[in-house]
Symmetry: C2
Subunit: 265 residues, 2 copies
């Protein structure tokens, strides 16, 4: 059995050090094998310019990832966490994946950028990846990737048992759609959303919270409310997600008939 | 504006004439431009042998389709209805599509067969099709097709404004997944499920009911309860489903990045 969960934080825009410390403080209140932190958990979301996104971005060797690594190593917790990743002059909306020994296993760069993210970030170039961490196969998609069933499907076809879904949700639909993602692929899904609002001058964005862990039968194992900061964990058997036969005659991945999915690829 | 809806019936297994008459009686209680009837609405679901499925099957020229055509013509209602379709020696789990003038526009044959259907029916060979009826572009998927997001996605990519979903649901997940199907594709969706149970000797299957009409923003416009027979209609503007831009920078179909959906096709 594995303990998997999320940190639902409410970052203050731009106050990276404060936000990382606070998120790790929340993380320290639970014991987990895998914890998922929200999209851009360290910076906040509402960038006003490409320059600002660049200024708040960090490399994989930067202080945010380093602190997460230290947390992972000290607590034997694998971590998936969203941050603005700097690669040369480019910035990606990324999630780092860190194993229980503090080693960086890799990074996923958001495939489907939402709204003004298109002005500040490069479209992700990694594709959908599955990482072996904490003895589980963990796939990653970020926020708006939810709207494309192809995201979770690709991860399931690559063998993900758990989908980590760091998010900053501004629309109400994803928590429902994520129930479908779990059952249509028979995977566990961890939605790690932020709460609160970003207010920048005249502009304001409110976030949905409602982080949760869902099982492959669409049962919600734990769920946070809309408001507030929370760290929550559920106990799961990741091998349940390897069972794709829902009866002796149906295997939900082998039942696919790709030659009839015209226009999909 | 168009009036679209469903008939949720509770057929008696094998009593085709009674079942068709009763379903049309229900249909006659509403005024609609498009009505969707459940999967196998005329025969019931729990076949015990291939021979039985063959015996209860009908061609597109058979009495069930003829009665539906007469209803369509008399009431100017387009119809999508599930039935066991006989083609030579083969039987498909199909849905006929009839326009408001009573003409048969075509047939969809279920792509993904559920459980023992694999023993009684041929896998569908039509692919996912969009039909122009009642001034709307209507795509069809049948029951277990819901579990494959590829089904609704293919229909949306082919231009469906409305997805008709004739079903005989024995699992509780589809009504939630269908909310995702609607919003991830920005289409209207009509789930037409049956209620009650099929009891054949020692065997029994209970059905979920809960037929509904959903809009592209995931709002449930009308919904039947689990039990009982119902015909319900909602007023919709099908052109709302043509708007795939959810903001000035995101178009949910053009935002797709198929080269990153490895293994999907």
């Amino acid at each position: 059995m594995k303990r998997v969960g999320f940190v639902q934080n409410n970052p203050v825009f731009g106050e990276v050090e404060r936000n990382v410390n606070r998120a790790l403080e929340l993380a320290s209140t639970v014991e987990a094998d895998l914890l998922v932190f929200p999209e851009l958990f360290n910076t906040g979301y509402l960038f006003l310019s490409k320059e600002e996104a660049y200024k708040l971005s960090e490399t994989l060797e930067g202080p945010t990832v380093r602190k997460l690594q230290r947390f992972s190593e000290e607590t034997s917790t694998a971590v998936v966490a969203g941050f603005a990743e700097r690669v040369g002059e480019k910035v990606y909306n990324s999630a780092v994946v860190i194993d229980v020994d503090g080693s960086v296993k890799g990074v996923y760069r958001k495939t489907h950028l939402f709204y003004e993210e298109k002005l500040f970030f490069e479209p992700g170039d990694t594709g959908f990846k599955v990482f072996e961490v904490a003895g589980m196969r963990v796939g990653v998609m970020i926020c708006y990737d939810w709207r494309f069933p192809e995201s979770a499907r690709t991860l399931a076809l690559k063998g993900a048992q758990v989908i980590a879904h760091p998010s900053n949700l501004v629309l109400p639909h994803a928590p429902t759609a994520d129930l479908a993602r779990a059952v249509e692929n028979r995977v566990f899904l961890i939605l790690a959303d932020r709460s609160g609002a970003d207010v920048r001058g005249e502009r304001r964005l409110d976030f949905e919270g409602k982080s949760m862990v869902v099982d492959p039968d669409m049962n919600v194992l734990v769920k946070a409310p809309r408001e507030g900061e929370h760290a929550m964990v559920a106990e799961i058997d990741p091998k349940v997600a390897d069972v794709k036969n829902i009866n002796p005659l149906n295997h939900i991945l082998k039942d696919r008939r790709p030659h009839l999915y015209e226009g999909l690829c």
